[in-house]
């Protein structure tokens, strides 16, 4: 490395720009990857391999896992409870997406304005994001309690048993999860909406477009990739939602909110059937990875570099 190059690149962080001034396309050494790879291998790949191995064993936590061939997988194929749990997960995923997306989009776009009251209201609105999941679940469990909850003091709402009625409890869970995560997605939309150049709206106003027209022809199309980002996060997130439901309903009443990750947890850590729970975990891993690949491929998420061509 010549001294001159060092001077020109001094302000930027080390490796990448190193070779550029000389016009070569020198790449950073592969060794820079080593720490990340080691972490990834130790904390992600190795456990995944272990889970796959455990899924072919019978282990109740004592002694050593006993190889059991494909028994766990045969059981999983025939397990009606697992199928119900997966269908419930799917329902939960679709409904949380459908509930959160429009709300987050509208609030995000609204909050992208720069008036002072919006800043105050937005920060208030982001509060749920700062609370821990356990606190949120416990909070809503007390608010919705059919005997002592706040809802019992309200007209109309007092006739519902939000956490005990098997027909509505899953939607209660959707509501609580949405309450928790809408602020996060709002933040995404707010940031994206602020990136939209003002000149577009000025031009539209001159052309006589009203607010609704502006929203549908300018804002929404330009937020396309944010919608995709947010949707991927929501879908993957609701596929793995676990803590809120565990504390809020424990998967009950009965099995009405026992979504797949919870079913895995109960099988593993209440029933101590670690082999079978591992099979469920592997299935979830494959489905989750497949799902996020599918979403990114189908939506062209990978080609998102340029949102504002020509501007």
């Amino acid at each position: 490395m010549a001294g001159t190059t060092l001077v020109t690149t001094a302000p930027s962080p080390a490796p990448t720009p190193r070779g550029r001034p000389r016009g070569t396309r020198e790449r950073p050494s592969g060794w820079y990857l080593a720490p990340a790879l080691a972490f990834f291998g130790f904390f992600a790949v190795l456990p995944m391999g272990l889970v796959v191995y455990l899924s072919f064993t019978d282990w109740n936590g004592f002694g050593f896992p006993q190889p059991s061939g494909a028994a766990n997988w045969e059981r999983l194929v025939a397990d009606g409870e697992a199928r119900d749990a997966l269908l419930l997960t799917l329902l939960f995923m679709v409904v949380t997406w459908a509930v959160q997306t429009p709300i987050a989009l509208l609030i995000g776009v609204w909050a992208a304005g720069r008036q002072r009251n919006r800043a105050v209201l937005s920060s208030l609105f982001f509060l749920p994001l700062l609370l821990s999941t356990a606190a949120i679940a416990l909070l809503w469990a007390s608010v919705l309690d059919p005997n002592f909850g706040v809802t019992q003091a309200l007209p109309f709402l007092d006739r519902f048993n939000f956490l005990g009625d098997t027909d509505i409890v899953i939607y209660t869970v959707v509501w609580v999860v949405s309450w928790q995560y809408v602020p996060f997605h709002t933040l995404l939309y707010q940031g994206a909406a602020r990136q939209i150049p003002h000149s577009l709206y000025e031009a539209a106003t001159i052309d006589g477009a009203g607010r609704y027209r502006q929203f549908f022809t300018i804002t929404l199309p330009l937020l396309k990739y944010t919608v995709i980002t947010s949707s991927v996060l929501m879908i993957v997130g609701s596929f793995t939602t676990f803590d809120t439901i565990l504390i809020l309903t424990g998967g009950g009443p009965g099995t009405t909110t026992r979504i797949a990750p919870l079913y895995m947890y109960i099988t593993g850590f209440s029933g101590f059937e670690f082999g079978y729970a591992s099979a469920i975990a592997v299935l979830l891993l494959v489905l989750g990875a497949g799902l996020s690949l599918f979403v990114t491929r189908v939506t062209g998420f990978r080609a998102m570099q340029s949102q504002q061509e020509g501007l």
């Binding site: 793995t240 109960i266 209440s270």
Partner: protein, 437 residues
Amino acid sequence: MTSRRLTRGAASAGALLLAASLVACGSSGPAGAGGGGGGDAAQVWALQDTVLNPIEESSISRFNETSEAGDAELATFGNDPYKQRLRVALSSPEAPDVFFNWGGGNLKEYVDAGAVEDLTPLLEEDPELRDSFIPSVLEAAQLDGKYYGIPMRGVQPVALFYNRAVLDAAEVEVPQTWEQLLAAVDALKAEGVTPIALAGSQSWTELMWIEYLLDRVGGPEVFQAIRDGEPGAWEHPAVLQSLQLVTDLVDRGAFGDDFASVGYDVGGASTILAQGDAGFHLMGSWEYVNQLGQSPEFVEAGDLGWAPFPAVEGGAGDPANVVGNPTNFYSVVADSDHRDVAIEYVTTALNDEQYVEDLVAAGDVPAVAGVRDQLEQAENADYTTWIYDLVEGAPNFQLSWDQDLPADQATEMLTELQRLFLGEQTPEGFVAAMSAA
């Protein structure tokens, strides 16, 4: 959400690695050794409990002062982490020397894994020690005729608690038979109160009903067969009959409409009873201490009543039988590095006068024979002597099924039971599901 997912992934990966490394250590450790926490003192593992832990601490420090074999040391854990940790630790060099357990099938899994010391010879050599505990309680840690645990705290039978004021208002007597209970349910319903408080968001509260009913209808042998894993044991007619009695009770509206979202840990069901919104509440003996803590004015006014579970007409079971938690036990880990200390502790410290006195003072009813006089002198004697007599007079004390069955079956059963109470499962479907499990 992605970051959440990653953290969770990392956490579970960590847990797995921990489990894997513990297993690996187990294989590289001293051959056949399971005991020893590395330190010099024998490790005593128990559950976190604000009332009990100081009593245990002082018991151990008294022991350490006098014992010649060596010192003991207490470590405490939360309920669910404890079960998970104990399981992994027992097959590793990190195993404790003495561990807390519930007896029954819960203990059986550890015994089957060869991890528990047989205490029978010690109890046979020392009949005085054996006779110092209530026999039906000591039996809960007896497996295949061998004793694997020594009672270390109070008895916890399940009793039918009631609100005297509510019953009086509806002109209902305390029921002694199932028919009388049904009549009481109808009368309370007519008064507009929930007849029976039930914390149905947690299925172990529902379990108490089916445990008592099966014991009353079929006698303890029916469940014994189920627990022993005899083929077709769930298909005994008494099981179906008692499940039907439960569904009848639910359909009659005995538990009201909201029970599925009532929790016990958050005080839901107890508050409903104390506030006069319900007549009865079937709960473990700890309910009294809870009520005393949460609604002292209710207990002090004399409105909290208690009774044995009603008899079922024509049933094969003795109405004097009780269900619940006979007590908790201390068991000694087989091949412990501190075997002498561990054994000396469990055989000398748990019927120790001071220890028993401390338990009584804390409102516990120790599983120690002849403690009745002491209870009479202590506070809340009405209640504690009643509990003592109930347990001492019980021909059989059935351990809660969720502790007595192997964990996988217990989990399945609790799920099916909750579905039964919700009306999403039929008694026949329950039997079929459990037979297949």
